[in-house]
């Protein structure tokens, strides 16, 4: 009775990554930190860029009165303006500060957006493989999760999507670069997706929002440029975080951006600010808002992640694994060499290598590894991958 029946049920379903986390702790205690190759977590090994450290020092050395106080729930105007300027430069669209709300990271941003949009029973569609928390976030606000498939390149399957849109569809939620697949949704696919949403909205007399979850937007490889959703669709909202581009996941700093071309954006932004408040986020952390103001567009060394991708992708493919080559983010999502990926994960774990089963992301038969780790961890994992591949006949 210590916790509600509802939360007990959710927590039991959601224990896969937690079990992995606990297995990791046990393995490390047993064999030593350096003998365990933990590829299960998306906790970036990169340190924040030097400029972040400089800015933080300046802020700490010259405290200004009021700099840690409450500010308007949407954040400091100067920070909102800086984010808007960045988005304007990236997209060519007329973003203003009033289109931006600073948030406690992308997880907060998504909850704020869903809270503002969903009436009980409304449906939110997202694509498998998906970020594990989406189901919880939709449920937090009494929405219903609907999972649509992707194709062989992990791009949204629009034929399937079409059949899944109903009069209760309130939003489609996409995540590109994708966690866990590393796919970047192409401009063509996004454009076609938006055309479909426009048709369906008209047909059903509803408004279907497109929510684009973009924490990995700056982590693109091979010179790819980012296909934004905004030019394609009015009722679109992007959420972003500095967890990955500035390597600040623990600091909880991100934002929501609303399409300046969306007619009802004043109303929407007011609702978002209100939800940011009543959900208990209140405002994004003040000091981090001061810090990121001048760091829009600054990123960690993306080429280092690309090098890690090339290394681990190359090695796994050489061993016979079948794997989509990631275009962004820092995950690899290979096929399990055996249908039941839990058996694969278990065998891998017996070699002290930790990965996450694909079913956690709604895609059984796959597994996820995070390559945002030290090189020695990637190198050390190879033997486990090799022996496990051999065991399952690759």
């Amino acid at each position: 009775m210590a916790i509600s029946s509802k939360i007990r049920g959710l927590a039991e379903q959601g224990s896969a990554i937690r079990k992995m986390f606990e297995a990791g702790i046990a393995l490390k205690a047993q064999h030593g930190e350096d003998k365990v190759f933990d590829l299960s977590l998306g906790n970036p090994v990169a340190e924040p860029p030097d400029r972040f450290h400089q800015v933080l020092q300046e802020l700490a050395q010259e405290p200004r009165p009021g700099m840690h106080r409450y500010m308007p729930n949407a954040g400091y105007n100067e920070t909102r303006r800086a984010v808007a300027e960045g988005l304007k430069a990236e997209t060519g669209l007329p973003f203003g500060m009033e289109d931006v709300i600073m948030t406690c990271g992308a997880a907060a941003a998504l909850n704020v957006v869903l809270k503002a949009l969903i009436d009980p029973g409304d449906e939110v569609v997202f694509f498998a493989p998906y970020f594990v928390e989406y189901r919880y976030y939709v449920d937090n606000h009494n929405g219903v999760s609907v999972v649509a498939p992707t194709d062989d390149s992990f791009q949204p399957d629009l034929v399937a999507l079409e059949s899944m849109i109903t009069p209760r569809t309130r939003a489609v939620l996409i995540n590109s670069p994708n966690n866990p697949s590393g796919a970047v949704y192409s401009a063509e696919r996004i454009s076609a997706l938006c055309a479909l949403l426009e048709d369906k909205s008209r047909l059903l007399g509803t408004e279907i929002f497109l929510i684009s979850d973009e924490p990995y937007r700056q982590l693109l490889y091979d010179g790819l440029s980012y296909p934004h959703v905004f030019p394609h669709y009015g009722p679109s909202i992007a959420v972003h975080s500095h967890a990955k581009d500035l390597a600040l996941p623990g600091e909880r700093i991100g934002h929501i951006a609303v399409n300046p071309a969306y007619d009802d954006r004043r109303d929407l932004v007011d609702g978002l600010i209100f939800c940011n408040r009543i959900l208990g986020f209140v405002n994004a952390p003040a000091l981090m808002q001061h810090a990121v103001r001048g760091l829009q567009g600054v990123t960690v060394d993306v080429s280092d992640y690309q090098r890690k991708r090339d290394y681990i992708y190359g090695e796994l493919v050489r061993m016979g694994y079948t794997c989509f080559k990631p275009q962004g983010a820092f995950y690899l999502f290979p096929k399990s060499p055996v249908e039941d990926e839990d058996a694969f994960i278990e065998e891998l774990q017996s070699w002290n290598v930790l990965a996450v089963p694909g079913r956690t992301f709604g895609s059984p038969g796959f597994f996820r590894i995070s390559y945002c780790v030290e090189d020695r961890v990637l190198e050390g994992s190879l033997e486990g991958f090799r022996r496990t591949a051999r065991k399952f006949g690759l």
Copy 2:
């Protein structure tokens, strides 16, 4: 259609303070910042203690690898341990780090606690006057708010409470020192409240939690010591924030503490950590966790707030206002000299003084002023209070 019907409804009800906020902006634009005496917001004028600035400088000057990364969702063990040590010293109870969860402020903490406890339709009782956000927080998690009265000294009315407890009562939520009344609940009243909850739990075969919202715990006057709930009741949970004691409201740093004497605390803490994650808080901001670790028990100059209390309380009473003398926090909650306090607030506003109507806190016929402002604002407000008193025949 830009926002859900539900949020539209809530936002419209919740517009009283917002209207005041907007009126303030308009008045300041019209008459100049220094001619408007805004006592409507609980945004402390105190700056963080010097030691906070020193600690922040040290952290910024000597960045350690990984200090901005994810940590376990409950927070850094070292910070949890420091908070537990502080609570142990304050209460004499055997708090350990495993009884503490770091959160994005007290607002986050309350949402996490309510999410973990409430099954849809469960009731949460709190006392009027209450912090305006409670109704939203309970509703966020599909709970039902039940408002109980207080007596003339703003202490919980236990006779009334008894009749309001039902088989669906999941928690009683108290807030002492109280926003808006400034009352500190006495040890006797807390003890009697806890005895009542124990009886009722036994009788009904339910478990009723006591949630103590304590952001103002360190802001006590006249040498008062804080009556903790923990010694009186097993299933008790306290939430705290450094918004007021360290003057860091914008930084969103606080914690949840679970009674070490509560039998099912492991289960409860697991549920709280899980809810902290799935609500999108993920973890309390990393840098602030590093900063507050060594600042447990450090506070702003409380005597300065006491001086402000004495000043504004004395002046208003001299003018004929009827007012409870606050024992803590930084609000005054006088009786409106006219039954409809909106008329009072309006007249006051015509003298460029901003206060909040009591109905916002569930107590019509009163008004709230925040005295956590510069002395010149308090001084400047007197004429408005004097003239308004006269107008309404005080």
